[in-house]
């Protein structure tokens, strides 16, 4: 397939939609990893898939269904967090089971289901881009304000408490951001593609970043690089986008782990 076809108007919207999520998800992943809650991202992605399918069956846009379900899950996340990773794991397998059952029994869900699990970014339309752009604006407005509070609460919990600020409010705002981001991204690039962009670039950036700000750039750069490579590769070999993206990310993760060992002879650290 000719790669210049990527520039065809039909593929411009999917390309731009993916760029937005490839830039945003690793940033959210950095803060999820800070709070040791990356498993929550996978749980939210599975719930988003179930919500998308449920929305389609009920006749509402998939993004709306996904947003409703993941934001509801986020509202109960503080309760889930008390159970450690058990709560997230239960949410994840429940979301997966609900999605697969809808896929198997409701014909209208079948096409969308394959798009969600295969990560068929190429079939996304203008509505996905509009939702993504709106989310980009929300993150740009909220995260710079939220960042210092999340970092302060993580590094100096006693200092944070002494200021009299309520941590749960900031946690809830962040959880809703993550839930919304994963809901919209899952509807565009699929469950594992979205989770991969949350998980892998932040993992590499934690290892290679010179400081927090630098690590945010490293994570975003790796994510955009992986996205561009996967978009072109999946297009060229005519394969579903989601698995190709995940494989590219896995390759970068291996490189990110091995490169410091080879280049700077650093001792291995836990990934």
């Amino acid at each position: 397939m000719n790669l210049f076809h990527i520039l065809d108007p039909m593929f411009r919207w999917p390309l731009l939609t993916g760029v937005i999520f490839a830039a945003l998800l690793p940033v959210l992943g950095m803060y999820l990893r800070l709070r040791e809650e990356w498993l929550a991202a996978l749980a939210f992605a599975q719930v988003a898939a179930a919500g998308s399918l449920g929305g389609a069956i009920l006749g509402v846009p998939p993004q709306v269904g996904a947003l409703a379900c993941t934001c509801t899950a986020a509202a109960f996340k503080s309760w889930l967090a008390r159970t450690g990773n058990n709560g997230y794991a239960l949410l994840m397998i429940t979301g997966w089971a609900a999605a697969i059952l809808m896929l198997a029994n409701v014909p209208i869900a079948e096409h969308l289901g394959h798009a969600l699990f295969d990560g068929q970014l190429y079939f996304t339309g203008v509505s996905h881009l509009v939702f993504g752009a709106a989310f980009l604006l929300v993150v740009a407005a909220v995260l710079p304000w939220l960042s210092r509070k999340l970092l302060l609460e993580r590094m100096f919990p006693d200092f944070f408490r002494a200021t009299g600020m309520s941590a749960w409010k900031f946690h809830l705002i962040f959880d809703l951001l993550v839930a919304a981001g994963l809901a919209l991204a899952t509807a565009s690039i699929g469950v594992m593609g979205a989770f991969g962009l949350v998980f892998v670039p932040s993992m590499i950036a934690y290892r290679l970043g010179p400081n927090w700000r630098g690590a945010l750039w490293v994570a975003t750069g790796i994510s955009l690089l992986a996205y561009a490579a996967a978009f072109a590769l999946a297009f060229a070999v005519d394969q579903p986008f989601g698995p190709v993206l995940v494989l590219v990310l896995a390759g970068l993760a291996a490189f990110g782990y091995l490169a410091p060992l080879v280049l700077w002879r650093r001792t291995p650290a836990a990934l």
């Binding site: 006693d158 200092f159 408490r161 927090w212």
Partner: protein, 190 residues
């Protein structure tokens, strides 16, 4: 709180977690105070500081904070970094501490990731972040742990310089350090 220099007043405070660990105890923290909290292990020194900022349950009594008074609290436990790529400069910025005021021996390290620092350097950054935050009352829990004599000396100088404008409570097993900085002390029994 009638005294203009009184920042914090503790009245018959009894505090702990599942059960009371410390108290009942009463004292006040005024501007110009450097109060050393002394006592054997298990006497509730850290619990007392936690109670002042809402980190321990108050069973009876009360902590009165003058309106607008800001408190920083350096916890005894070392920072849990877990590979978080945060630099010293970024750590200080979190609490509002000015990195430009760091002593010369550690200032060149302020741009490095915290997980690349030694235990003593990391502890000094942690203490400095709380000590130099824009607050009125500073609570320090074992600030000299792992810090070499040069660092301890700079903490003594800094606490002395801050004395006129702050109220400071310090817990330490380093008796010489406490004697050199404190204006009075609170003794807790086991």
């Amino acid at each position: 709180m009638e005294n203009g220099d009184c920042l914090l007043r503790v009245e018959d405070l009894s505090a702990g977690y599942a059960r009371p660990v410390v108290g009942p105890i009463s004292f006040s923290v005024d501007r110009g105070d450097v109060i050393s909290v002394r006592g054997p292990n298990g006497s509730g020194k850290s619990t007392l500081l936690n109670a002042l900022v809402g980190g321990a349950h108050i069973f009876s009594g009360a902590v009165h904070r003058r309106p607008g008074v800001r408190i920083s609290h350096q916890q005894q436990a070392a920072l849990q970094l877990d590979n978080v790529p945060l630099s010293g400069r970024e750590l200080l910025a979190l609490t509002g501490a000015d990195a430009r005021e760091l002593p010369d021996w550690i200032a060149p390290l302020v741009g490095k990731r915290l997980d690349r620092l030694s235990g003593g350097q990391l502890q000094f950054m942690q203490v400095w972040a709380c000590l130099k935050a824009p607050v009125d009352v500073v609570l320090l829990d074992e600030p000299t742990n792992n810090v070499d004599p040069q660092g301890v000396h700079h903490l003594q100088i800094q606490i002395g310089a801050m004395k006129p404008t702050h109220g400071i409570l310090v817990i330490s097993h380093d008796r010489a350090f406490l004697d050199s900085i404190s204006t009075r002390s609170i003794d807790l029994d086991a």
